[in-house]
């Protein structure tokens, strides 16, 4: 691990100012991902700004739904009564992620900021455009190792089937974010130029030519909280995570479902997938198809087919082209209790 400066702050303003002032400065929340990346020399920060003392861990009811503070621990959110009652999908998704020890440390904001688990990103001797962008620029930082994409033509079993580019086929690894994008969350951020709100579906981005950029945050911006609007999905929601072992494994792919059902008919539905794209992947075409239709296996299969439009495999991950529609059908059947 490289030597670095360490600053502890107690107000968001001080945190934002510290990160804006010097390049190579990173917020440190739970540290469950950042510290690993530092040990592996994937990220070489000059300075860490510890935001664990910021008073941002509240989970509260608001006029329009729920507000969850960015520093709330994953375990605390998953076990929160309001969350379990109003957005059980979020609770399920959080509990499907990582291990109990990690969930006790990891925060909501940090979970959104976690980097891909692509092995080529993690190993500075391997080519990676995300870690070592081709063009030097403001996002380059002090990155290590060769550019290129090791996963294309390499070990890409875990990789994207939607929205990838020829620079990067990595996926966003979060479970929590699949629930948040499905539930129409919004992200409240504060930065050097003031506060703003970002729709969750626009928070993460596709790799395009800038795979080093995971999200649309501007330099110095700090995640303050996440808002979840009131919904009617609590009775029929399900998070299906398909993985290589039963716990402590990233998703081969996952499906988050929330359905508003009335007498066997789907009034409204939210569908999102994880492990398939550089961002949490919302299945809007499938949602539109299912709305107003009876909850039948035939309809689920057709929705799954619609969801797969534009999917593309890269060799080892071709199986996801079969697994994804299967998982969508399985998740819909479970959520609607028609299995």
């Amino acid at each position: 691990m490289n030597p670095f400066q360490f600053t502890r702050v107690t107000t968001p303003k001080a945190a934002i100012s510290a990160v804006t002032k010097e390049s190579g400065t990173y917020f440190l929340a739970g540290g469950t991902n950042l510290i690993d990346l530092m040990k592996r020399e994937v990220i070489l920060p000059e300075r860490l700004v510890d935001i664990n003392r910021l008073p941002l861990a509240t989970i509260e009811k608001t006029a329009t739904g729920l507000r969850i503070g960015a520093m709330a621990k994953n375990a605390a959110v998953a076990d929160n009564e309001l969350v379990k009652k109003h957005v059980p999908l979020l609770s399920q998704a959080l509990n499907a992620g990582a291990s109990a020890q990690l969930r006790n440390m990891a925060t909501v904001g940090g979970n959104m900021m976690q980097r891909t688990r692509c092995p080529y990103f993690y190993d500075p001797s391997m080519p990676c455009n995300k870690r070592s962008p081709v063009q030097a620029g403001p996002d380059k930082g002090r990155a290590n190792g060769p550019s290129g994409c090791g996963a294309i033509g390499g070990h890409n079993r875990m990789h994207a089937i939607f929205g990838a580019s020829n620079k990067c086929i990595a996926v966003h690894p979060s479970d929590m974010c699949i629930a948040l994008v499905a539930l129409d969350a919004t992200v409240n951020v504060s930065g050097p130029k003031g506060d703003r709100t970002i729709p969750f579906s626009e928070f993460h981005r596709l790799p395009g030519d800038l795979p080093q950029k995971d999200n649309t945050l501007l330099p110095g911006e700090l995640i303050m909280s996440v808002d979840l609007p009131t919904n009617r999905f609590a009775d029929n929601s399900y998070y299906l995570k398909v993985r290589d072992r039963a716990s402590y494994a990233f998703a081969l792919l996952s499906v988050g479902v929330g359905i508003d059902m009335k007498r066997g008919t789907i009034q409204d539905v939210r569908l999102a997938m994880g492990g398939v794209a550089h961002k949490p992947w919302r299945l809007t075409a499938a949602e539109a198809f299912l709305k107003g239709k009876p909850a039948t296996e035939a309809n689920f299969k057709q929705a799954a087919t619609l969801a797969m439009q534009g999917a593309k495999g890269y060799g080892e991950n071709d199986f996801k082209l079969t697994l994804a529609p299967n998982a969508i059908v399985d998740a819909l059947k479970t959520a609607t209790k028609t299995a």
């Binding site: 691990m1 490289n2 030597p3 020399e41 688990r117 092995p119 080529y120 190993d123 001797s125 391997m126 090791g150 033509g153 390499g154 070990h155 079993r157 299906l240 398909v242 993985r243 290589d244 072992r245 039963a246 716990s247 402590y248 494994a249 990233f250 081969l252 299969k301 799954a304 199986f319 079969t322 697994l323 529609p325 299967n326 998982a327 059908v329 399985d330 059947k333 479970t334 299995a339």
Partner: protein
């Protein structure tokens, strides 16, 4: 005799120490003025170091030295292979390449040490190691066994010879035949405890070592050979080990290098490797491809089996294991041929991993037996019983003991085998399909040479000593139980000392042989004490004079006449009367020529129930029953634990474990515990263990055979067979991950 009655379940004697931090592992030892070292590994798999810049590292805070091929201190014994098995069989046949750590710029495998950085703290050594800059001249590595299968060579020695009984292609004449190919990937031992060593030259000729080794005597001999010094001047200590699974069966080159550097710098030196180095520097289970041809008649009698295996090894050393051996004797079959080949690749050398080659071979043979049973529309147990070998067909001699039929029956009853339908895909529960599978495991039961010392004091306490290391199965508990049974000393008055070369010599812990080997020595030493006590009591003028030895009972510190318990003498009184403060006996123990007339094996049967989601391909082992036929069980609780551990490892082997290489680079891409999936608690159901617990009359006085390997051997096949029964999908490539099982949506 110990073996006539079942032994009571006793708690693990060191359990409390282990869970309270009282047990000291090698890295727990601290010596004054210790320096710490960190290995810099090659980032290529084949080629050479082009340039090496250590200047920045040398100038980093706390750095004591940076050692590379340019300044590595000489190791006098380097004319012999460094890290060879000092107590093992004859030296390995010469390969074209040789690997001597830090001796040349040549790179032979991914992660090969290119520098060892020494500093006053581990953290400073780690930082300085990151400052070593290396450039390479790369060559295209050959690491993919599948692409080089045709380059297999027949290894020399017992494991390499082709075997033939009857006609090699006898299977072809059978009315029902099958040919199937089975693959297992690279698996890595990955015990929780990281590998390493602490070496301290107290002067230029006296060496103290705390190591992670499965055999302190083996490490002592290897270092004596490497440094050309008298083994008596080397003291090795390894009392506890946080899991070995085979990776500690030899002394690895980096350990020898640490000892050499420690001498050079004149300070104690400690190495604790990191997790990714556990994938390249301490061996692995080799990637192996197998083909089984099998023929049977309509009555379910095997006509012929041909079993061929090809496994990877390093370019610089031939590694072999007994992958095809089980096929030679497991079933009564007139025509059997086996063939074993190795392919030298640009990979680090493999090493035995729990159940070694037999676990690999059993996956193929026991999957094929299931496939054939299905073709014949026979129950898989019935098919095995129709081909049961009552005597060893390979060596034409009786088994010393074999209770496998009883094991099949008891396991079948416990798993609920009668619920199984022979037609795959017959049983459902909601969206899940349920299947049952079984498989046999077998491993040689050894009786190696070992020594032990027993000291009975007049205060009634007993001390047992042996150099053997307890790698975790409960060796200390089992040895305590044996001593208790012979001498009747209460368990809490028995102290055991082991894992140190100052104690009587013992073999390396491996091959499921320690209770048999060291246990026999303990038995003999304790029996010698008992004999002396009886002689003292029975001699003229003695308190029990006039009685015969076989009329006496020794229990709880009292020697009494069995038929007249009032006629007795306390052992302490007897010793005091004879002015003895201690009776001290050391015994060497080994098998008898009589044993040559028998084939000695331990057997197991594994049964599993699986639940399979046909849409997602997810397989859950929902029930597991493992039955051990391994003679008299010496310590029932630790034996059950050992079986449970084997099953947990077996679930990993079956469903999750695979070390993945990107062959473009010849390097691992999942060399960490997040991406290399050992089974976690959520993958492992409650496991029922059943011990046949019948003594083997031949192997040793306890009647005990080993069980470490059979706990794992065969388990993966049972899972694959259950997945087939659940779904009709036959998976022949481990691990059985969801993508191999999911069925296309129709």
């Amino acid at each position: 005799m110990t073996n006539k009655t079942k032994n009571p379940p006793i708690d693990r004697i060191d359990g409390r120490m282990k869970v309270t931090g009282g047990a000291k592992y090698f890295a727990d030892f601290e010596l004054p003025n210790t320096a710490y070292c960190v290995i810099v590994g090659s980032e290529i798999a084949k080629g050479a170091i082009a340039s090496l810049d250590t200047q920045k590292a040398q100038g980093a805070p706390g750095v004591v030295g940076v050692f590379t091929h340019q300044n590595m201190p000489p190791i006098p014994g380097w004319d012999a292979p460094v890290g060879g098995e000092a107590d093992g069989p004859a030296p390995k046949p010469k390969t074209e390449e040789t690997y001597r750590i830090l001796s040349s710029p040549k790179i032979l495998f991914d992660g090969q040490p290119v520098a060892i950085v020494v500093a006053d703290t581990y953290e400073r050594a780690t930082y300085a190691a990151s400052l070593v800059k290396v450039t390479y001249t790369k060559q295209a590595p050959r690491t993919d066994l599948e692409k080089h299968l045709s380059e297999g060579v027949a290894p020399k020695g017992a494991e390499g010879g082709n075997y033939l009984r009857g006609a090699a292609d006898g299977y072809k004449t059978a009315p029902v035949t099958l040919e199937a190919h089975y693959t297992i990937p690279v698996e890595v031992h990955n015990p929780m405890e990281l590998h390493g060593i602490l070496a301290h030259w107290t002067d230029d000729k006296q060496l103290m070592i705390y190591a992670k080794t499965q055999g302190v005597n083996a490490t002592q001999n290897a270092m004596a050979q490497a440094f050309k010094i008298d083994p008596k001047t080397i003291h090795v200590h390894t009392e506890f080990m946080g899991g070995g699974f085979g990776m500690g069966l030899r002394t690895w080159p980096q350990e020898t290098a640490v000892v050499a550097i420690a001498r050079k710098i004149g300070r104690p030196l400690k190495l604790v490797m990191n997790r990714s180095q556990m994938f390249t520097l301490v061996g692995h289970r080799p990637y192996t491809v197998q083909t089984i041809n099998m023929g049977a008649d309509q009555a379910g009698k095997l006509i012929g089996i041909a079993h061929a295996a090809t496994a990877e090894t390093a370019s610089y050393e031939d590694f072999t294991e007994a992958t095809v051996n089980m096929t030679k004797f497991m079933y009564a079959c007139p025509n059997v041929s086996t063939r074993y080949r190795i392919v030298r690749l640009d990979r680090s050398v493999p090493i035995w991993m729990r159940g070694p080659g037999e676990a690999t071979g059993a996956f193929a043979l026991e999957s094929a037996m299931d496939e054939m049973a299905h073709k014949l529309n026979l129950d898989p147990i019935d098919f095995r019983l129709r081909n049961y070998s009552e005597t060893d067909p390979e060596r034409n001699r009786p088994y010393s003991s074999k209770n496998l039929k009883e094991a099949y029956q008891r396991g079948a009853d416990a798993i609920g085998w009668k619920e199984r339908r022979n037609q795959p895909g017959s049983t459902r529960d909601g969206g899940w399909q349920i299947g049952y599978g079984m498989s046999t495991g077998v491993f040689s039961a050894f009786r190696w040479e070992a020594s032990a010392r027993a000291l009975l004091k007049a205060d009634g306490s007993l001390t047992i000593q042996s150099a053997v290391t307890d790698i975790g199965p409960g060796t200390g508990t089992a040895l305590t139980m044996i001593a208790h049974t012979v001498l009747g000393v209460p368990l809490n008055r028995i102290r055991i000392e082991y894992g140190d070369t100052s104690l009587p010599k013992a073999p390396t812990q491996g091959g499921s042989a320690i209770v048999s080997a060291v246990g026999s020595a303990v038995y003999d030493a304790c029996t010698a004490i008992k004999t002396e006590l009886m002689q003292l009591a029975l001699k003229a003028g003695g308190p029990l004079a006039g009685q015969q030895t076989d009329e006496l009972t020794l229990a709880d510190g009292v020697l009494s006449v069995s038929a007249e318990p009032k006629k007795k003498v306390a052992v302490s009184d007897l010793m005091q009367a004879n002015k003895l403060t201690v009776i001290d006996k050391t015994k060497d123990s080994k098998g008898s020529p009589e044993q040559e007339k028998y084939s000695m094996y331990s057997f197991s049967v594994h049964f599993v129930q699986v639940r399979v989601n046909p849409l997602t391909g997810v397989v859950r082992v929902s029930k597991a029953v493992s039955v051990a036929d391994s003679g008299r069980i010496v310590s029932p609780k630790t034996a059950a634990s050992q079986m449970i551990g084997g099953v947990a490892g077996g679930i990993g082997m079956a469903l999750t474990e695979e070390a993945i290489i990107d062959h473009r680079f010849g390097r691992f891409v999942n060399n960490n515990l997040a991406d290399y999936h050992v089974a976690v608690h959520a993958d492992v159901p409650a496991i029922e263990t059943i011990m046949i617990d019948k003594p083997d009359p031949i192997i040793n006085p306890m009647g005990a055979k080993g069980m470490g390997e059979i706990a794992l051997i065969g388990f993966a096949g049972a899972v694959a067979n259950a997945v087939f029964n659940a779904t009709g999908q036959r998976v022949r490539e481990l691990p059985i991950t969801p993508d191999k099982v999911m069925q296309k949506l129709t």
